[in-house]
């Protein structure tokens, strides 16, 4: 059924359709509307039986989910940014124990300086935690991915993170097609745990594993993710067959067939990129967009297949490995190893900096002319940066960078961009 609703509400309802049995809620922007929505559904009795638990921290949220999942319950939680970092220890534990928890990450920057706006630093910081990481390009996909995520997680007994851009998607009101309970029930069977805490068949879960077996345990987790590479597209197809929508999967190519230049990106910026590319193609530029839906497992083969025909690749990412550059880029380069093509990393939209068609077009023109720096920061205000650098060179105690910059910018509340 078509609805015009907020992304968070769409996700909350989709999660509810998956009949979770334990939901852990701790508030952090921009994830709050999702758990608020679920809390309402549970309290109203629309979603039951289900335990909705107001925990005291994200660390507890993931820990409660671990306990619930180990006891055989379908467990869900959502977080973002600092919250994700605060639960980091438990995140690794959940994947290490192979517990199929599903978690929404409403992507947001990580402080300091504290910043509530969108980028991918948070989920990228958990790149190696052993969770499957799926990225949604728009709210319909976010909705669909959650339903697919439970199926994937429980089949493989691996936790899945569904990443959606904070505010840009979570707070955007747009058209989504909300499936019915019957459809979801038919697609997603009840949770049958691989291992469970059961008084009738007691086991000890979470043993201490020494050098003699630790590497094997780790490799097995990798093997699981390799299986996921096969199951993710299959599940996307099964989903399409039942719901009539092609969402999820590993990657999605847009005008890549004949493209000499391909822009690789994750999340909501893919939409803006497609508009941009459409315009540029109208101007005769042979350019396409490759969206990555599955960042972990990383679809090396699919990415290589999609890019090997091009002459240059621009990885546009909302994450930044300080001291190196791109985070996604390194993975993409791995996919392209041995291929001779120009690679550019464009870091954009950090901390909610708007990514505009205009800026993208300007940047891509330079790229196509191969005038782009290998590592480019989209719309970086060099004036501010250089002034601060000069200040630091001259004065020993130049004061906190962020404040200085704001002074230079002359902040205006409710800036348009």
């Amino acid at each position: 059924m078509l609805r015009q609703i907020e992304g968070s509400v769409a996700v909350a309802e989709a999660v509810a359709l998956a009949r979770p049995e334990v939901i852990c809620a701790y508030p952090i922007s921009p994830q709050t509307h999702i758990v608020e929505g679920l809390g309402r559904l549970v309290k109203s009795g629309a979603l039951q039986p289900c335990e909705f638990i107001n925990v005291e921290s994200e660390f507890a949220a993931m820990s409660v989910a671990i306990g619930a999942s180990a006891a055989g319950a379908r467990a869900y939680t959502a977080t973002a940014s600092q919250g994700l970092l605060f639960m980091a220890e438990a995140i690794y534990n959940a994947s290490g124990l192979g517990l199929p928890i599903v978690m929404t990450v409403a992507n947001r920057a990580i402080g300091a300086p504290i910043n509530i706006w969108n980028d991918h630093s948070d989920s990228m910081s958990q790149r190696d935690c052993g969770w499957i990481q799926l990225f949604a390009a728009h709210n319909q996909e976010a909705l669909d991915l959650h339903i697919q995520a439970f199926k994937l997680a429980e089949e493989l007994s691996m936790p899945v993170m569904v990443c959606m851009d904070g505010f840009i998607l979570t707070h955007a009101v747009e058209r989504v097609d909300m499936p019915t309970q019957q459809q979801v029930d038919a697609f997603l069977p009840p949770y049958e745990p691989r291992q469970v805490l059961d008084t009738a068949d007691p086991v000890s879960i979470g043993a201490m594993v020494g050098p003699e077996a630790f590497m094997e345990v780790r490799y097995l987790a990798h093997a699981k993710q390799q299986m996921a590479l096969e199951r993710i597209p299959q599940i996307a197809d099964e989903f399409e067959a039942r719901f009539g929508r092609n969402t999820g999967g590993l990657v999605r190519a847009y005008h890549c067939e004949d493209a000499e230049t391909i822009v690789v990106a994750l999340g909501s910026v893919i939409g803006t990129l497609r508009d941009t590319v459409e315009d540029l193609r109208a101007g005769g530029m042979k350019i396409g967009v490759l969206g990555i839906q599955s960042f972990r497992p990383f679809p090396l083969a699919a990415v290589r297949a999609a890019l090997q025909g091009a002459r240059r690749v621009v990885v546009l990412e909302k994450s930044f490995s300080v001291g190196l550059g791109g985070v996604v880029s390194t993975d993409v380069r791995l996919a392209l190893s041995g291929l001779q093509l120009h690679g550019y990393t464009v870091v954009a939209g950090l901390g909610g900096r708007a990514i505009t068609k205009a800026s993208l077009a300007r940047m891509l023109h330079e790229a196509v002319a191969d005038k782009l720096e290998p590592l480019t920061f989209l719309d970086l205000d060099w004036g501010i940066v250089n002034r601060q650098l000069a200040r630091e060179a001259s004065v020993r105690r130049s004061g906190p960078i962020a404040e200085n910059l704001l002074r230079d910018v002359g902040t205006v509340a409710s800036k348009v961009n």
Binding site: V22, A90, P202, V203, S204
Partner: protein, 360 residues
């Protein structure tokens, strides 16, 4: 206030002295078992149901042989005492969540586990939250027609409870989740080599509070009293116990399992390694801790003290401190009577606060 043994163990000895033996009184009360007492583990003269769980060959040995705990480990003992009692009280319907620490490491090194009940170890600081999750899952399963009688225990050492796990514990308390949390308190981080925790007693030497300088050992004025903090949450049940009083410990576990909601049991478990004591002194030291007043044993319901275990043979704190190397600096050379006096004052305060001595 006094913690009462089972009724059949409660009567007074009959008085023999009378003016005329023709009138010597016949006691109508049941006889107290003086020889095998109320203090030994078992008692051939008691009805089986009145004997301790540990006296039974049917006990579940939840933590069975082959674990890698040190010789004389109080924690291994306390864990078996408590879990076995809980198993008895619930007809073996217990699931346990364990914090990282000695208990976890010595009980479950791959490829062997000593646990005989469903058990999970997640992290150092989240045992209470994992317990909450299990309890929540069980509640939903029950609503869907699953077993309704499965109960949850979360457990950890003093580090995992009073320090790193404190947030999750307080949250579990505050939500009144249906979990019994058991803290096995050996008063320091033993697993990592005896470092100070917020449960480390004052003046005790640890690897991070060395016995050097003018204020040797753990500093006075620091540390926290978790049982009293737990009481402040006004949860259904809070109790303290030691491995020296098996009957009291089992009675408390039984009481806890008879209630729902958040419950907290704090068990003193001496650590021969960390305390620098002989491996055979484990129970004796726990007994002395109580008899000095340094470790008051009490029960509280909804934030109110409901029972205390009176001191039976009061002893000065020196008797407790002396056998432990972690307090050796209090007795070396000239000794530190000033610090011992401070510790004695703490014991005396407990005795006043909890009424540990019979007025008579």
């Amino acid at each position: 206030m006094n913690h009462q043994p089972p009724s059949s163990l409660r009567s007074q000895p009959p008085e023999g002295v009378t003016d005329d033996f023709g009138a010597a009184r016949q006691s109508s009360e049941p006889i107290k078992f003086y020889q095998t007492g109320t203090f030994t583990v078992g008692n051939r003269l008691l009805a089986p149901e009145q004997r301790s769980v540990q006296a039974s060959t049917e006990r579940s040995n939840s933590l069975t042989s082959g674990h890698r705990a040190c010789q004389g480990c109080g924690e291994a003992l306390g864990a078996r005492y408590a879990i076995d009692a809980a198993m008895r009280a619930t007809n073996n319907q217990i699931i346990a969540a364990n914090a990282t620490g000695c208990l976890e490491v010595f009980s479950t090194p791959y490829p062997e586990t000593s646990w005989q009940l469903p058990w999970i170890h997640s992290l150092f600081g989240n045992a209470a939250a994992v317990g909450t999750g299990i309890a929540a899952a069980l509640k939903v399963k029950a609503a869907k027609g699953g077993r309704k009688d499965v109960r949850v225990i979360a457990q950890g050492g003093d580090g995992g409870t009073t320090d790193i796990g404190f947030g999750c514990l307080s949250g579990m308390f505050e939500r009144n989740d249906d979990v019994l949390y058991i803290c096995y308190d050996n008063e320091a981080y033993m697993n990592t080599g005896v470092q100070r925790s917020s449960a480390t007693p004052h003046a005790a030497r640890t690897a991070t509070t060395q016995a050097v300088g003018p204020n040797p050992g753990a500093e006075f004025g620091k540390g926290k009293n978790l049982p009293r903090i737990a009481m402040a949450h006004e949860i259904p049940y809070v109790a303290t116990a030691t491995v020296a009083d098996l009957h009291g410990l089992e009675a408390k576990v039984e009481r806890a399992m008879g209630l729902h909601g958040a419950r907290y049991l704090h068990i003193l478990v001496p650590c021969p390694l960390g305390w620098g004591a002989a491996s055979h002194d484990t129970i004796r030291l726990a007994r002395l801790a109580r008899e000095t007043g340094l470790f008051p044993e009490f029960e509280a319901e909804a934030g109110e003290i409901t029972a205390v275990t009176k001191i039976r043979r009061r002893v000065p704190v020196e008797d407790y401190l002396r056998p432990q190397k972690r307090f050796a600096h209090l007795f070396a050379d000239a000794g530190r009577p000033d610090l011992i006096a401070q510790i004695q004052a703490e014991a005396d305060r407990n005795i006043r606060r909890f009424g540990l001595l019979d007025e008579s």
